[in-house]
């Protein structure tokens, strides 16, 4: 079996909101897989359906060859789950928390403490969980998801809300986890995170998977595109469109969000010379394609986490 997860046409509706709208995906064993999308894209709901804590309205899911819904006790020891918001017992220290979670899997305190050490929390093992910083709580949360040595790990936005240093530390940890041979499924709204960590990503929006592939491959599909930005207020969007059209430049996604005037183009030359002629180069930024452009091209709008 090389597929750790297969999902086929899953849908979930909350009242008027179609949170997941026909998602199909497959994750290979040992893969680091990302669900990338802005807030409200349906990442968490998709993940919860895969984990088996939410029932899909429609569709079929298989995890390690088994169906996660209804609750499947055979599957549970083989998967590790970290929720978007931490799930700790009240009034417990970090050490007590991980030992408790370990006990659910028949794992003793020594191994639990070793996991705490691994995520670098030995120093704060005696701290109550509600007194811990965001980064510490995330690391404890991940440690609790890993304490029983699962083959398949789900992480829901593990680095959201962390400072850059803490994010980088966590990235190292996540890479190690994957390097040990575990399949990792991660959701994120950070493009850089998906680009750096994931073997493959599914770009999601409005409950749908827009495109799936290795980050580099997704970018390559649109690699000729260059994103150009200047400060807003130098030139109105209408005026820019007029001038560029007159100069015969080819461009897409021209927009002014009040901070920057931005556009995408395959041929930056005419655009840049027009901007220079108009003396509108302040804050100039020229970038090759990134996942952000993939999103832009797929949805026709800027990526906003």
């Amino acid at each position: 079996m090389t597929e750790a997860i297969t999902a086929d046409g899953i849908r979930k509706r909350y009242g008027d909101v179609q949170a997941v709208d026909g998602v199909s995906l497959s994750v290979r064993t040992g893969e680091f897989y990302g669900l990338l999308g802005p807030n409200g894209a349906g990442k968490t709901t998709t993940l919860e359906i895969l984990e088996g804590i939410r029932e899909a309205d429609e569709g079929r899911v298989e995890l390690l060859g088994l169906s996660p819904w209804p609750r499947n006790a055979k599957l549970l020891p083989r998967i590790g789950v970290q929720f978007q918001a931490s799930a700790f017992f009240n009034k417990l220290t970090a050490r007590e928390t991980i030992r408790t979670f370990a006990s659910f899997y028949g794992i003793g305190p020594k191994a639990a403490d070793a996991m705490l050490e691994r995520v670098g929390l030995t120093e704060s093992a005696g701290a109550l969980t509600d007194k811990m910083s965001g980064g510490q709580a995330q690391r404890l949360s991940i440690a609790c998801a890993l304490v029983h040595d699962p083959e398949l790990v789900f992480l829901d936005e593990p680095t959201t809300g962390l400072d850059p240093q803490a994010r980088r530390n966590l990235w190292d940890l996540l890479r190690d986890i994957n390097a040990e041979g575990r399949t990792v499924v991660l959701t994120t709204h950070y493009l850089d995170e998906a680009e750096i960590l994931c073997d493959r990503v599914s770009v999601m929006d409005h409950g749908k998977v827009l495109r799936t592939g290795a980050p580099a491959a997704l970018v390559r599909e649109i690699d000729d595109t260059v994103r150009i930005r200047v400060e807003s207020g130098l030139l109105t969007a209408d005026r820019a469109r007029e001038l560029l059209t007159a100069a015969g430049a080819v461009f897409t996604n021209l927009e002014d969000d009040g901070v920057t005037l931005a556009l995408s183009t395959d041929a930056p030359g005419p655009v840049l010379s027009m901007l220079a002629e108009q003396n509108a180069l302040r804050g100039l930024e020229v970038r090759g394609a990134t996942l952000e452009d993939v999103f832009l091209q797929l949805t026709g709008r800027e990526y906003r986490a």
Partner: protein, 376 residues
Amino acid sequence: MTATDDQPRTAPAPASAGGPEKANAFVGLSRVMLLGFVRDKGTLFFTLALPLMFLVLFGVLYKGGGTSHVKVAEVGQVKLLDALKDQKDGPLSVLEITTYTDENAALAKVKKGDLDGMVSEGADGRLVLRFSQADQVKAGTVQGIMNSLVQTANQEASHAAPAFTLDASKVEDDSTKPIQYLTPGLLAYAIAMGAVYGASFTLVTWRKKRVLRRLRLAPISAGTIVGARVLISVVVALAQTALFLAVAQLDYFGLKLTGNWWLVIPLVICATLAFMAIGLVTGSLAKSEESANGMNQLIILPMSFLGGAFIPLDFAPGWLQDVSKVLPLRYLINPAKSVLSQGGGIADALPSMGILLAFTAVLCAVAWRFFNWDDA
């Protein structure tokens, strides 16, 4: 030392590092719940300190309220009284006799109401009783007692067998002291607080903090979770029982346990289950601790008053007593009172235990109907 401290980042794979060491989910969960209880100052206060304060406070306030003594001054030597003074259980057991030498001082006290009467011995063995009419009940009592004392003495002096005798006994147990109903009442209140809150807050807090859904992803059964919660609530309830009985038995409060007092243990266990089931219902219905708290109080306070936890309801109107019958508390208080200090036995406890378990079953079914793993 410091240099090497940062170094050993050897990442042991937990399963292999675990070796022979084992852990048990039931033990782990029980520990979590016990720690949650002892580390929560609010819970400790409301389930242990406050009810115990009530016991001490009411115990002090009502002390001596059960058998109201008649206070009598003995002025000079009164042979009739002296002869009976040492008999603890005789007719003088309700009399509290103080010896006075100054007749006027004693008389002043009777007038003020500090004493209910004063007795002195006149010439020819005449017993002189002066009493105040201020408290008519006491006035009647003191006259009656003295009268009967004199008659008994006369009769003994005549060496004739009495033609009639009166064998009177109270319908209440011989020594109904306030501590005897305060202890089971306030204990029941304390246990209700502990068990209702224990179950309902565990449910609400764990749901809100997503612990419930996390537990659902762990390979443990609902039985393990419920079992651990029951164990800890029962342990807490038995600790409350031990504490209350220890305090109530202090000489100052003077509770005397009778033969089958241990029956209070199965009673407390059954009642704990019933109270926990109430907590499961409120915990399933409530979305937040605040609303769970409101619901719990709305149930516990009326249940405690109507069940007679704070004041005996023997003289309450019938319909009020009927209301208390649909609430589980009275099925702990009444049999507990009986087995603790009034010589009650299995027959007094068993029906109530059955009723408490029936409450548990019904309330659990209701809770199951509203139960949710998740907020959403």
